[in-house]
């Protein structure tokens, strides 16, 4: 069964990317991501100049045609892109939530405990 190798490779890549992206988001992760991107670009250029390179890669890992190989690679790339974007979006959302909350709380002022009869204190403000 020839397809087993590509299946193994793809699954490994998917899991590795996911683990990579889910764990630390420090300088190293970013560096790895950028290296990956550079590698991807280099490969893209290479395959534009020599389209047959995909066929060779496909043969090595056991896929029938180079076009299939490109499709698989794209699926992996797209999934990892979706995940990164989602996580970055979540980070961003958490940050602006904090900012908006700080603004809202500062604007409303502190919750002074009502002394005596709070309802009457609120009334003139409410009437205006």
């Amino acid at each position: 069964m020839k397809i087993v190798l590509i299946q193994l490779v793809l699954i490994a890549v998917v899991i590795l990317t996911a683990v990579r992206l889910l764990r630390g988001r420090g300088a190293r992760t970013q560096a790895v991501r950028r290296l990956g991107l550079m590698l991807f670009a280099a490969l893209a250029v290479w395959s534009i100049l020599f389209p047959s390179v995909w066929n060779r890669i496909a043969k090595v890992v056991g896929v029938g045609r180079g076009t299939d190989m490109v499709l698989y690679a794209l699926v992996v790339a797209f999934l990892s892109f979706t995940l990164t974007t989602y996580l970055r979006f979540r980070d961003f959302e958490a940050r602006y939530t904090k900012l908006a909350r700080r603004l809202a709380l500062d604007e409303s002022g502190p919750p002074q405990p009502p002394q005596g009869v709070p309802a009457q204190q609120e009334q003139p403000h409410a009437g205006s």
Binding site: A100, R101, P111, P113
Partner: protein, 221 residues
């Protein structure tokens, strides 16, 4: 009852929020409405009814509004209990009072409202199924035993509140809240509450489709 703050998240409830606040005021002195960036004049209506209003500059979601309300209440050193209450008028004051009384009696650290402990609430069949599934998921993932995890009526005591940090801005916060209360090893009880499904609250309520979004939010934490 100056030791209790009622937190009401409000998003576009201009029609009813005034009445809701007035009603809550009959039993609780301290009410804070978190206006979650409403596009109508909900915040003004709440303020006119006598509530303190904290205004989110932009819409962030109900979970974020609750967390803002919690932080507001925590800034009051004399606060001992917080009650969360929905802004659409589906909750009953008597239930709320009963829940705070149980906290005060020292029965537990947290009292959750549940619409499934008696037969008063009449959710539609679809809603019932989704809520059952939601609480099942919450129970499995948080090691708690509840009958209704997505009920907006909750009473929480200060020490527990201090440990709560809601990060789920949208509706998944209900499960997150339960998870954090479970992780804080707080004691909890459920209190039977009556959810009044008015035409208004039905129109405003969660679409059943949203349960899928909630699940996705929880899984992709």
């Amino acid at each position: 009852m100056n030791d209790t703050w009622v937190v009401i998240p409000v998003y576009n409830e201009e029609q009813v929020i005034g009445d809701v606040v007035a009603q809550v005021h009959t039993a609780f002195e301290q009410v804070v409405c978190v206006d979650d960036g409403s596009s109508d004049r909900s915040g003004d209506a709440a303020a006119r009814a006598g509530a303190r209003v904290v205004r989110h500059p932009i819409n962030l979601g109900q979970g974020a509004a609750l967390q803002t309300g919690f932080e507001y209440a925590l800034a009051d050193p004399s606060m001992k209990y917080v009650l969360t209450f929905d802004g659409d008028g589906q909750h009953q004051i008597a239930d709320a009072l009963g829940m705070v009384d149980r906290l005060r009696a020292g029965e537990a650290d947290v009292v959750f409202g549940s619409r499934f402990l008696d037969e008063r609430s009449k959710p539609t069949f679809g809603k019932k199924m989704v809520l059952r599934a939601a609480v099942g998921y919450t129970n499995i993932t948080t090691h708690t035993r509840l009958t209704d995890a997505h009920n907006g009526l909750r009473a929480i005591s200060r020490p527990v509140l201090e440990q709560i940090k809601i990060t789920q801005n949208r509706m998944a916060h209900a499960s997150e809240l339960v998870a954090q209360i479970g992780a804080a090893k707080a004691t909890y009880v459920e209190h039977p509450v009556h959810i009044l499904y008015s035409d208004y609250s039905k129109a405003k309520g969660q679409s059943l489709w949203n349960s899928i979004n909630i699940l996705a939010d929880l899984i992709l934490r």
